[in-house]
Amino acid sequence: MSEQSPDEVVPEVVAPQVMGRHLDRQDGVEKVTGEATYAVEHPVEGDLLHAWLVTSTVARGRVVRVDASAALEHPGVEAVLDHESAPRLADTEDRELAVLQDDRIGFRGQVVALVLATSSEAAREGAALVAVHQDAEAHEAAFAPGSATYAPEEVNAGAETDTVDGDPTAALAAAPVVVDAVYETPHEYNSPMEPHAATALWDGERLTLHDSTQGVHPVRATLAPLLGLEPEQVRVLAPYVGGGFGSKGLPHAPEVAVALAALSVPGRPVRLAVTRQQMFALTGYRTATRSRVRLGAEPDGRLVALRHDAESQTSRIKEFAEQTATAARMMYAAPHRATTHRVAELDVAVPSWMRAPGEMPGMYAHEVAMDELAVATGVDPIDLRVRNEPEVDPETGNPFNDRRLVECLHRGAELFGWAERPEGVRARAEGDWWVGTGVASATYPMLWMPGNGARVRSVEGGRYEVAIGAVDIGTGARTVLLQVASDALGCPPEAIDLLVADSELPFATVAGGSSGTSSWGTAIAAAAQQFRADHGEHPDPGVATTATSGQYADMSGHSLHSFGAVFAETHVHRWTGEVRVERLLGVYSVGRVINPTTARSQLLGGLVMGLSAALHEEGWRDPRFGHTVTQDLATYHVAAHADVRDLRAEWLEEEDHLSTPMGSRGIGEIGIVGTAAAIANATHHATGVRVRSLPVTADHFLDLPALAPEPAGKA
C-alpha cells in the first residue's frame, strides 16, 4: 500500500451524475429496524459502569461539602466523584468544561458530583442520595429590559459587534415613514430526540469515547488538551447520532464528566446519559433575544435607514454572544445603517448554538419589522422586499454569488396564491377562524470550513473506500457524501464503502453552520481527483491518496449566501384565540440540491422547527431559582404532528460553482430562518393584532380590538 502525504488540494468542478438524484438514505434500514447503535447502546467489553450526574440547586455559590455516604451504601453504587476527588484537568480556563475542578457554582444545574454504579437505576438513585451542601450567594438570573449589558469583543462566528454606515440617526430622524419596535424571542432549547450521551473507556493509555456529537475531531481537539493527553490518545466515534440542532456542535460538560469518570476507573467502560431535564442546564440553548429595530423609509417603502440593536444574555462563567443583528447587515439596501450587539452576564446556564444562531432570532425581528413597514406604507410585503433588493452586498460591497431572493418570493407567491390575498387585516374568515397570510425572507451564509481531509483507497474488485471523520447527525450526510464521492471518482455509489464518524479517519469539521456538505464534500472531491491524478482510472488494489482540501469557495471575491421566501397561512380562532398554521411553504435558492429526498427533509424540518418557535417553544426561567422550569417535553412544547398541516418546500434549479465544486451550498439551517416571522405576520393579517414576542399564543387574540379605519403609519 502506498500513501500520499496529505497536501492541500483545491478541487475542480465535479460533474453531476449521481448528485441531484434521489438515493436511499444509506442508514435508513438500520435506523428503522433499531439496528443502529447510539452512544450508550454501543456494545462494550468489560465491567461496565453507569454514571449519573448530580447538579447544583443554587444558581451561584460554593459547594461546601459533598456527602456521599448514603449513596455509597446504596447497592450497586461504586464511587462518587466530586470537586475534590475527581481527576484534575490540565486546563480549567473554560469554566463550562472545568467539571468538578473547584467548589464554585456558576449556575443552577451545574455538575457538582457524579455517581458510578453497576446499573443505570442504581446510579440514578445514588445521585438522589448524594447530599450536596451548598453555600448560596445572591444571584442574578433575569434577562429583563434594562438588564446591565456590555459590548462583547466579537459575536458568534467571529462577526463584528457593531457596524455603522452613513448617518442612520439623522436619516431616521428625517425619514418620512419610520417603524420602531422591540421584538423578543425566548430561551429556546434544541431538544434532540437522543439526549446527550457517551460511553467512555480509558485503558491506561488511550481514551475511547462513543459520543453523541456533531463532530468527532472537534471533541477530540477540545478534550485532549483539557485532559492533558495528546490528540492521538483520544479516539472519538459517533456512528449514529439522534439529532443535534447545534447542541452537540461543541463539547459540553457531560463529555468532560464521562471522560473524568473513565479516567478514574481504568479498564472499565463508563456510560453516561444526560436526562432531558439536565439538558436544559448542561447542553446549551438559544439565548433569549431582544431586538430594537428601526426602519426609515420613503413613502414608497424604499429604505433610507435601518438600525438593529440586539441584546442577548450569557452565563457569567462563559461568554456566548448571539449574532442576532448580522443578517440586517446584508439583507436589504439602505444607505444609512447600524447594528449593535449587547450582552447581559447572568448566573445562568451557558447558551450556545441552536439551528441558525443569529439568523433565526434576528430575521424574526427584521422580517416582522418589514411587515410593519409594509402596513405603514401600504406597499405589498413582497413588493416592499423587491424594492429593497441591493445591487451588491451592502456589508462588504462584494457582488453576491447569485442572489435569487426575488425569484424565491415570486415563485412562492405563485405557488401560494398570494395574488388573491386581501390587503386589509381581518378580512377573511372561515367558520370560527380568522384567516391571514404572511411572508418573510430567509437567508443563510454559505460557510466553508478549512482543514477537512479525506482518504480514497482502492480495494479488490474495483471498489473504493472513501474515508472522512464527518458525522451524520441524521441529516443524510452519509448518503450525500456517497453521492459526491461517486461523482468525484466516476464510479457508482454501490462501488464505494464510505467510512465516517471516527476521529481515526481524516480530519473533519463540525456538522454545523450548514457547512458540512460544503466542507466535507469539497475535501472528498479534492481527495478523489488527486487519487485519480496519482493512480489513474484503473488503480491497483491498496493504493490510496489522502488530501486536505484547499479553499475552493470564492469567499473574498463574492458574498456567498443562500436565500429563501417563506409563506404562511394561519387561522386564528375567533372564540379562543388559538393559532393554527394551515399552510406553510418555503421556496429556496440553495445551490444544487445533491439529494432531493434528504434535502427536502432538512428544509421541511427547518420549517417545522420555525413553526414550533413561532407558536410553542418557550423556556421559562424562574429568576428566583435561576433555572428553566419548563424543563421537559411535557412543559417545553415543540410542535406536534397535529400542528403541521399543509407543508411544502421547493427550491430553484441552480448550481453554484463559486461556493463548492459540487455546485451546492448548505441547507441545514435556512429552513428555520424567517419562518416564525412569516407566521407572526400571517396572524397579524388574520387579526390586526401584532405580536412582537415569541411565541405567538392564543391569549393575544381574545376579544380582538376594533379595527382602526385606516392602517396608521407609525411614528
Partner: protein
C-alpha cells in the same frame, strides 16, 4: 428509582386490604403518571399493588340507560365505546382531547381521575411545593403561572387538575364507586376532588386504601346533547389552557336543563353551578351564556399570567352552548 415490592392483586378486596394495611403502599393502574413520579423522585412507595389486571374492564349498559364503567377500562376503549359515543358524547370527546394515542391505550378510567397536577414545581423536587412537600411553600404563586388556577385557589396552592375526562364526568353527573377497607361507597364525581385550602397535598377525598372500582353515568338529555371543548396552543398532546364540558336540554329556545363544567381553571373540575342556575329557564343566547359565565367568574382571582383564562373560558362556554343549541355542537 428505589427498590419496591410489587404485588399483582387477584381481586379488588385483596388489593384494598394490602394497601390499607401498609401506609407505604400504592395502587398501580396504567402507570402513565405514577411511573413518571417514581422516576422524578416525587414519590417512592415501598410497595406497589398492581390493580391494572383486575377484571374491572367492562362498560356495562344499565337497565335505566346509564353506564357503569369499570375502573380498568382504558381511555381509548372508553372513547370508542358505542354507548359512550351515543349517550355521552362529551365524555368521548374529552377522552380524545387528552394525552396521546399511546397514553390513552395505557391509561385507565380510575387512574385518569387520580392523575396529579403537572405544575412544573410539583414535578421538580428541587423547588418548594406544598402539594409534594407540605409546608415547603408554593413556588407557582409567584412563578410560572400560565396554567395556574383562577377559581378556588389558596395561598398554599394555585395549580389546576389536569384531567379532561374528569371535567366531562363532572358535567355528566357521574358517580365514582369506591371500595375501601370498610366496604363500598359512592361519591359524586364533583365531590371526589378537593380544593387546595390548607392541604393541597390531598387531591381528593379518598382515604389511603380506597380504590375506585367503577364510574357510573346516569342517562339524561343533557348528557346526550353534550360536548367538550378544549383550548390549547398546541393542537394535540397538551393540557388545557381552559376547557368546557357542556350539556344542554332546550324547550324551544328556553333552557330546560344545562350542565357546565370547566377544566384548567381550578384544583378540581369546576362545575359552574351559578352559571347553570342563571341559565335554567332563560332563553339561550350567546349574551345570556356570557352573562351566566361572568356570574360564575366573579369570584376569579387572576394574575398577569392567568388573566386570559377568564375571557377564554367565557368565550369557550358561549361557543359550546350556542352550538349545542343550534344542534351543531356535538
Amino acid at each position: 428509582m428505589r427498590d419496591f415490592a410489587y404485588h399483582r392483586a387477584d381481586d379488588a378486596a385483596g388489593a384494598v386490604a394490602l394497601v390499607a394495611a401498609d401506609p407505604d403502599a400504592r395502587f398501580l393502574g396504567g402507570g402513565t403518571n405514577l411511573v413518571d413520579h417514581l422516576k422524578l423522585g416525587i414519590t417512592s412507595p415501598g410497595t406497589l399493588v398492581d390493580v391494572s389486571r383486575l377484571p374491572l374492564d367492562q362498560v356495562e349498559e344499565l337497565p335505566d340507560g346509564g353506564l357503569r364503567v369499570g375502573t380498568n377500562v382504558r381511555n381509548s376503549d372508553l372513547a370508542a365505546h358505542p354507548a359512550v359515543r351515543r349517550d355521552f358524547p362529551g365524555v368521548a370527546r374529552a377522552l380524545l382531547a387528552g394525552a396521546s394515542g399511546q397514553i390513552r391505550h395505557q391509561a385507565t378510567t380510575g387512574g385518569n381521575l387520580l392523575q396529579r397536577t403537572r405544575c412544573v414545581y410539583f414535578q421538580d423536587v428541587t423547588t418548594p411545593c406544598n402539594k409534594r412537600d407540605p409546608g415547603s411553600g408554593c413556588s407557582a404563586l409567584e412563578g410560572y403561572g400560565r396554567y395556574n388556577a383562577v377559581l378556588g385557589l389558596s395561598e398554599a396552592c394555585v395549580t389546576t387538575h389536569p384531567s379532561d375526562l374528569a371535567v366531562a364526568l363532572a358535567a355528566a353527573d357521574a358517580t365514582v364507586v369506591v371500595l375501601g377497607p370498610e366496604g363500598e361507597r359512592r361519591i359524586p364525581l364533583v365531590d371526589l376532588h378537593r380544593l387546595p385550602g390548607h392541604h393541597p397535598e390531598r387531591d381528593t377525598v379518598l382515604e389511603h386504601g380506597d380504590l375506585i372500582t367503577a364510574v357510573q353515568l346516569p342517562a339524561s338529555a343533557v348528557a346526550r346533547n353534550a360536548t367538550y371543548r378544549k383550548a390549547r396552543d398546541r393542537a394535540s398532546y397538551a393540557f388545557a389552557l381552559v376547557s368546557v364540558a357542556a350539556g344542554l336540554e332546550l324547550d324551544g329556545e328556553v333552557v330546560r336543563d344545562v350542565r357546565i363544567a370547566w377544566g384548567g381553571v381550578a384544583h378540581k373540575p369546576w362545575r359552574a353551578l351559578l352559571a347553570e342556575e342563571a341559565l335554567r329557564g332563560a332563553v339561550l343566547t350567546e349574551d345570556a351564556v356570557r352573562e351566566a359565565a361572568s356570574a360564575e367568574l366573579a369570584a376569579a382571582t387572576v394574575t398577569a399570567q392567568t388573566a386570559y383564562k377568564v375571557d377564554m373560558v367565557r368565550n369557550l362556554t358561549a361557543l359550546a352552548l350556542t352550538r349545542l343549541a343550534e344542534g351543531t355542537g356535538r
